[in-house]
Amino acid sequence: MSIFQIVMFAIIAAILVITIKSERPEIAMLISLAAGVSILIFVISKISTVISVFNQLTSRTNIDMIYLNNILKIIGIAYITEFGTQICKDVGEGNLASKVELAGKIFILIEAIPIILALLNVVVSIMP
């Protein structure tokens, strides 16, 4: 499995979307959604290897694991938010896309609060 098959898969999906877009735009949109989902499902299995290497690195250099979990959560939220935003933009719903993006930013901010607090504590402790 390599990038070639992914690109071929996307081209086939695009051709199918075009053939059906004129008569049945809703089913065309569902085809592009299904193709996007299957590519994402395939890519997620590759991400797990990156995450395990990331875990080993942080455990060896005894950085707090708490922050790593937060970072992973933020990446996950960004991943899904971008997925939803693109789907809404494809259909032409710019309004929905911006709302989803706003919600994603808020959730990421909530996840990032512990890291910000830790940073402030360090800064305060350094201050004379």
């Binding site: 086939i12 059906i20 049945r24 089913i27 085809i31 193709a35 994402l40």
Partner: protein, 65 residues
């Protein structure tokens, strides 16, 4: 990377389009509408099950509960 899913959805789409044209030509507009809705629901069921698989994968991967 199973390509057959998108071929299945495309086949349903084409089938619904053809059935629609046949029904419209024999002036049964309401049945044509029903066929369109049925096709849409079938495709939606397939796509939604795929999306839920993706979301479960992301949940377990990024510990997003």
């Amino acid at each position: 990377m199973n390509v057959d899913i998108i071929f299945k959805i495309a086949a349903i789409g084409i089938l619904v389009t053809v059935l629609n044209m046949v029904l419209v030509s024999s002036d049964r507009k309401e049945q044509a509408m029903m066929v369109t809705l049925v096709g849409l629901v079938v495709v939606l069921m397939m796509v939604i099950s795929m999306v839920s698989n993706l979301f479960n994968a992301v949940k377990t991967m990024f510990q997003l509960y």
